[in-house]
Symmetry: D2
Subunit: 367 residues, 4 copies
């Protein structure tokens, strides 16, 4: 209902609950008598409050993405919102990295002036950030211990329950693993992607070997043949079913063998209409993993600058600890590792027409 357009502008404030929102910045360094407090504590509070608002938004997007990916069959029309919402998470994470530029207008001395007042409060303790990590797929057993304790030992029972609940629900990692494993084209009718790709790899390496034998000899040939042999071994390791985590405990893969195949298939044939969305989805997952990692590193550097070799506020997460999480807390490294097994497009095996047809749109004339 259109209303008088110059009235009631304060609906904006009501809509955003500004009376409340702008009244919950309470510096702990404030002197009880005078109310004076360390100037930069306000920045510290507002900085972290905006972080928490964005964390809420990330969890909200994950709700949607996981609801769609969690269905037995992912509807083709869901690919657009899934990709859109993952892209939004990427943009938010990039903003969170960029936002540290503002916090770094605070000097270490400025921070020292209110640091003691923070007692045990620390950004390291953000429950929502823990939930994001868990929902994405970071497992309890993958997490670094903190002071010989589990990472959630310091939370109140309600927070611990929230974490436990998240840990027992299906994570985005697991959903993507299952969704990949269901990809219909990898093994369909007479077509076996793995066989086709393996043959192409061998043809490519045979060609290199023949060219080497033709062009060089002696030590140079020996080195070249050794390099080709290492390449064969490298590729064989992925063609082997034992690459599966379940059957090979020593494997570094976390994705299932079937999912790995599908991810490679999607990567290699990404221009096929039915694979454009999935390829985009995988790209955004890698963007999220990379953005989280960059945030961790940027945060670690900021902590080092602010407190040097001291531990963080809350007695917790000093620079050394944070740097250990840098690699340990990554989730989707398998997708990055997959690039190890790519071959040039000219060596790529062409798709059988019947498979390619199935991945096209119905309105077209072929098929």
């Amino acid at each position: 209902m259109t209303q008088d357009k110059t009235k009631n502008w304060d609906q904006y404030g009501e809509y955003l609950a500004l009376d409340t929102l702008l009244d919950i910045q309470k510096p702990w360094s404030a002197d009880k008598a005078t109310g004076a407090f360390a100037h930069d504590e306000m920045l510290f509070i507002i900085f972290h409050q905006t972080y928490e608002l964005w964390f809420k938004q990330i969890l909200f997007e994950l709700d949607d993405v996981q609801m769609r990916l969690g269905r037995p069959v992912v509807d083709d029309c869901d690919m657009q919102p899934i990709v859109k919402h993952l892209h939004r998470v990427v943009e938010i994470l990039r903003l969170l990295v960029r936002q540290l530029d503002i916090l770094e207008t605070m000097t270490p001395q400025d921070f020292t002036d209110f640091r003691d007042h923070l007692k045990t409060a620390s950004g390291f303790q953000s429950l929502q950030f823990r939930l994001i990590e868990t929902r994405l797929g970071l497992r309890r057993e993958d997490r670094l211990l903190f002071n010989h304790c589990q990472y959630d030992a310091g939370y109140c029972p309600a927070s611990q329950t929230a974490i436990n609940t998240a840990e027992h629900e299906t994570t985005l990692f697991d959903q993507i693993d299952k969704w990949l494993a269901r990809t219909p084209f990898v093994d369909r009718d007479d077509y076996k992607f793995w066989d086709s790709y393996r043959a192409a790899v061998h043809t490519m390496l045979d060609g290199r070997e023949a060219m080497a034998r033709h062009a060089v000899d002696g030590d140079i040939l020996d080195r070249e043949l050794a390099a080709i042999a290492r390449n064969r071994t490298k590729f064989d390791s992925i063609f082997n079913k034992d690459a599966d985590t379940s059957s090979s405990p020593s494997s570094s893969w976390r994705l299932s063998w079937r999912a790995l195949q599908a991810a490679l298939f999607i990567t290699v044939y990404k221009t096929e209409p039915a694979l454009q969305g999935p390829a985009s989805l995988l790209g955004h997952i890698m963007d999220i993993d990379a953005a989280m990692s960059q945030w961790r590193y940027r945060h670690a550097l900021m902590v080092q600058r602010m407190v040097g070799m001291n531990v963080g506020t809350g007695g917790s997460a000093g620079y050394g600890y944070l740097m250990q999480t840098l690699e340990k807390h990554r989730i989707f490294t398998d997708l990055f590792a997959l690039s190890t097994y790519l071959i040039p497009s000219h060596a790529r095996p062409p798709l059988p027409q019947t498979i390619s047809n199935q991945m096209g749109y119905r309105y077209g004339t072929t098929g």
Copy 2:
């Protein structure tokens, strides 16, 4: 007081008032029966809430900067925090521009799905943003009318009072004008910056004229002489006391004549120790003006993308209106215009030793 380091992590949540902060996102598109609402409205709410938190931070920094600049004499030790806090405002404004990348992950169709529910609520109505503009120095008479009404006609009495109060307090523009006008070195003992600079300009232009007469003739000489004559007129316009806004109503300068002189002096001799801070301060003021302008334009483009030729939510600020404010609502254009009157360093008049000495540190051996 050090506490058990793995306990009480929830103090972080208490410190940031997370229970409240994360409970005040109430989409208006929510269906009363099902609670379902347009997915992207959550982003819209959280986006604007983070904006309002940053606006509060900007106002908080302005409080500090204006308190220091408002004193009869600005303490030399205040220059560092003033510059630091202005720089922080710049970084925040740049983040607010950058943050629009996130909002643009929402498509126009997504926005259409909850736009009607917003009724008259509009970001255009942010009271804090109006206060920032006013505090910086945007005058009521400089503002574009909106629907033939004053820009604050739609606010409730309390908000209007806040605006009126801000309008009647000394703005940052006025403080900078007064602070510049007090700069001691511009006219000190026998030294008159204006006389010195005018003489240097004339010497420079005389040199150009002589070179032209020596090198060319005919039409080319005429054109060159005409160009030099235009240059003389240009410079004379600023050397003339009538450049003052008070005595020359037609002037486009808002800064006082004395402040203009000082701003040029600081710009030209910026490496002198006592001018490094002031030069940095003026640079940050220009950064703020430019960042506000970029935000206005980016915002206008976003509104155009989301609602096309429609007016904005709240029946208010469509693309056309916003584009009109782009130039009209700028505040510190005088500082940009000042570059019109710069001359190359080699033509710059050297400072008398006595003046230069006064701008050095006491510990040095000279003076």
Copy 3:
């Protein structure tokens, strides 16, 4: 051929032609005798050289995109590279905006120290930038005159020829217009998108009218009915074939009527598999238009800061001129304007099953 891995690292330099690349920065402010020059001129040169390299990359991406879009039928497998390469152009343009942060570490006084030496050289004269504008679709008649002359009057014959050639080739705007106009689903079998959408709009407005009559009366009802009537008029203007530019000279649309329909269709039904790519393509075109515009404005502000009210180097493009191009030189405003005609998803007419089927993948079970 694998080589000794610690040898021949200088191939990197050979590959990038570094000997040449790093030897073509020749400051014009250099003193013939001493070689000394204004320090910041090096930044000015390198800044513009990186710009020109990125312009070359943009033109290179346009080559590819236009080659694919210029075919009589755009292959479905081409959608992925088209979108990828347009996205790359967006990222480059955003970098070019961001890169101005570096140039602004130069103060106006620093610039004044070598500005006179630049004579008529000006970034305003970049031939590649003119070609990018023309290739995207900026027409000669849309361009602002410069000093009462055509925009390319100052170029040498070879450059003018390059511009003329680009002007006579099919632009990206024209290709997108044609590609949109060919969209098969807008008018297929018994389905007419326009009829379907018009009916939905009328139903929606009828609903609003009925609700208004039920809920309010008197002046409020009159105002509400007037608003609904304006809405009807607004929508009728686009449903009318006379919206076509060819038949209605007064129209502000540059896209053909048929292309407008298709663009709206794609926007509205963007989750359909066959429309996900096209919707993404249109989004990137808008991103390009917005990024170009932001660059123009940021550039204009930088020019104003560096030279105030003077004209630019090369006697050319001062702040006032640049500001006039801001709106005048935009190309794809039609896509922004289209949002004027969106309706909420709940009012959107469902697609007939036969149409929806055709936009799905062949492997699915339906259809």
Copy 4:
């Protein structure tokens, strides 16, 4: 000399040597017969060429900064250009990080299509980047071996000579160390900063101990006292002359003891007029160190995405190697570590008036 303003626009091209600049992109994947090449190789080339141009600019700024800092006495008027040029380096490094967004529009498969053609050419081999590292202060003995060889083993003799020359010149690290060590106020007349600061630290810790004994007892008191004792030990370690690298081989400090004192003094009393520039300088050095580190990490993640677990082009720098350099190749960690020894402002010892006076400007009335 003003010229006809619509003529000779091609001077812009001449100024920037565009004929040459835009003609040195020669993809190695180009087919000899057809000229066809992998589309994304052009991006790869232009991306690295812009990097090398910016590296040249960084070296050019270092020339200036090192020339000024290398003088026996740094002129007070040099502080402004030093800070300005270091800030420019920071902005360039941040752009180089940001610029990776463009390279990541290339998918790993796209890269695979021309990777083999690059043979041993690798960004890892940039001579200019090695020179930047060395000039900043990265020592040969601090560098990771590469394939059991020195990092410059693969370069041609001319490049090796350039590296050796840089290694034997005074680095920025050494210049800053010496400049800090010369700071006059740290030990002047009767004032000894170290004694004054140590006394303040002990007073602060005594206060904490008294408060603890008053407020708690038992285990809690024991823990608190142990924490205070650890704090005393921590501070004593820096007050001890043996913190000097020369006298204590086990120390982790690279800065001299005297320089550490001065850096802490500047950090603590940063608002004093004579310390504002130095404090800003130290801040920018930390920004450079942090930006280099962020670039290294972002680059490592990009390499991992593009080539997985393979080694890099040129058989060189795979992800694992790059990650090892992340901490090992940092240069100015001492400045970050210094924050370990900050105390709140209220506990900070006031400067004697005579010392404070010397750091003020001569024009003032005090002193």
